[in-house]
Symmetry: C3
Subunit: 260 residues, 3 copies
């Protein structure tokens, strides 16, 4: 049984997500459908790309990720399929697929152009329903990628801002804030280890400081801020039993300074 995992900014208010699932089950009733999130901020391509990068590797091999945040729907942006080492990705070529697919090593990029696999009467405001969902469904039935269209040689890429190193200071930023108010930074474990080694350090956000790195929330006192390598694989700033977003007054884009 194949899995199709869906990530959109469609919300759960309207019928958009349900309709896409209807389209998929009409083509392949024996597929596992999983929601990654539908509460991406409207048109938040980078946010979706980060969540997809943090999620894909936990799914069964050959899972098809249907990821649609598509402000350019109906314009000339390409609808694409990416085959990576272990997975398939379906969505618009606006960068949403790029972080995850690049990490898993891209093998092939296909332009979706074969109308045989579209719904009849494509509506140019909802390619999720009329193009992407049926494409994912036919893929899940094992159709060969080359049937969907010709190969493309490149991809629109997004980049997560890289932290800047400046003598004894590393300056990163908050790239994502989760439901609990944990602040996910752009500082990866490798970089941290190279920069800090075993030295003392101080982390500063909005003029508040943290000076130890812990392995679990409880290692800090109740209500105390802490730094930890979290489930996204990046350095995260948290508050034990509270919200670091509130504690630091931080937002996406807020700078984080690490001095060694």
């Amino acid at each position: 049984v194949r899995t199709i995992a869906i990530l959109t900014d469609f919300g759960l208010q309207d019928n958009f997500v349900g309709v896409m699932k209807g389209v998929i089950l009409n083509i392949n009733p024996k597929v596992n459908l999983v929601d990654i999130s539908h509460n991406i901020k409207s048109q938040g391509i980078l946010e979706a790309a980060i969540l997809l990068k943090g999620a894909y590797r936990y799914f069964p091999k050959k899972t098809i990720f249907l990821a649609i945040v598509d402000p350019g729907v109906g314009s000339k942006r390409h609808p694409i399929i990416i085959q990576s080492q272990n997975y398939f990705f379906v969505g618009p070529d606006n960068g949403i697929l790029s972080l995850a697919a690049t990490e898993d090593k891209i093998k092939r990029i296909i332009l979706i152009e074969n109308k045989k696999y579209f719904l009849k009467n494509v509506c140019d405001t909802f390619h999720g329903r009329d193009i992407f969902a049926p494409t994912a469904a036919y893929l899940s039935k094992g159709k060969n990628l080359n049937l969907f269209g010709r190969k493309l040689s490149s991809l629109k890429k997004l980049n997560i801002a890289k932290p800047k190193e400046n003598r004894n200071q590393l300056c990163g930023e908050i790239i994502y804030i989760d439901k609990f108010g944990n602040l996910v930074t752009n500082i990866e474990k490798n970089l941290w280890q190279k920069f800090i080694k075993n030295r003392y350090f101080r982390i500063k956000i909005q003029n508040k400081t943290i000076d130890s790195l812990v392995k679990s929330y409880e290692a800090a006192g109740k209500g105390r801020p802490l730094a930890i390598f979290g489930s996204f694989g990046f350095l995260e700033i948290s508050v034990n039993g509270g919200s670091a977003k509130r504690y630091f007054g931080a937002n996406r884009g807020t700078a984080i300074y690490i001095t060694r």
Copy 2:
């Protein structure tokens, strides 16, 4: 494998939807369960009916739609099954099923009255769990409709307000607003084409105007308002990259004037 697609105003806070799925899987573990929406405004029968009408035709034939917005739960309103040309609908007879089932041509209406297919100890505040979910589950196992109760000859109907035509003016209204702030009107494509033909026109909402109809959001400039036939099949008013709800200060019920 049959599909049961569920639409309610139960929200995702409580355990109501999960419990209904538990009831269904207890009767038929081999069914596909799809959520259409559970975030219908409490007691928003018309809203649910519009979403169901916009969704049903994308699902596999013989899908069972379990649609419950039921302010009269426990009163004398009838619990019903409707068999239409291609689908089955289960829910209260308060109009919620009427737009979709009528469009797909009604073949049979059954009063749900056979307690054999209810949970024991029906609680009169939650027929979704105790009557509708088990009925849908037994239907999905192929039970004959006539086993559930006797035939009814009519149905409570809802109507979407029809636009009014007055010489050179067509006056419609906003019947639904989606997550992106797109304004769905009650003006269907046929009516539009008959009224406008190839003439010039002007659309007016809350004293702001639009004078072209486009085929994709991008055809209007970034941040510009536009008119488009959207995925619901009605004329929609949108803003490219923004929210038409905010732009026009519109709500459900706001009038839209089209002058030719």
Copy 3:
């Protein structure tokens, strides 16, 4: 086909729930996944325990309930499996499982300690993904409980506050408020019947009163408050066609006085 029913405070914004489902399907692709709720207030263990107690008995026997509200993640609180008369429960030993499992009669409690059934590289901020989800998945494949770890002899328990009886007054409290604003009290039907028998009574909340118990919302006039035994099995206070939360200005913890 086994069912895994999931209840968390992870929200639907992030990718946490989707990732857990990916982990599960990677181990057992033939399992039914049902969401009970993911919108538990952050760290609301009691709220989750109440929803689980109200839900579990409607699911197929042998359903595995994966319930994770886990402020102590990464600390010394135990990860456990409980086998009860009819079901399995997986989660942290902080009381979240205790109301449901105790009601269904506990047969065995197992400490989850066999790393063979964890993901590699357990991250101490997300045991849901790295420990609990794979444990539930292997359980759903029929693995014997004893493979996961040694037996424990006791469990952390939560208690719902018991109403206090004082001559002719019964004093309870609101323990849960649902999406519709219905106030769920801690007064069970048995207690009510013993206390009231056939006597007259008056219910008082925030200085407003109700003096009849009804069997359906409609039995009270439109907009009128009412008392009813609701779908949770407790006395509930509702308003026909409205919100009792708003009508009474009540919150969780608000007292309810019943005088006979």
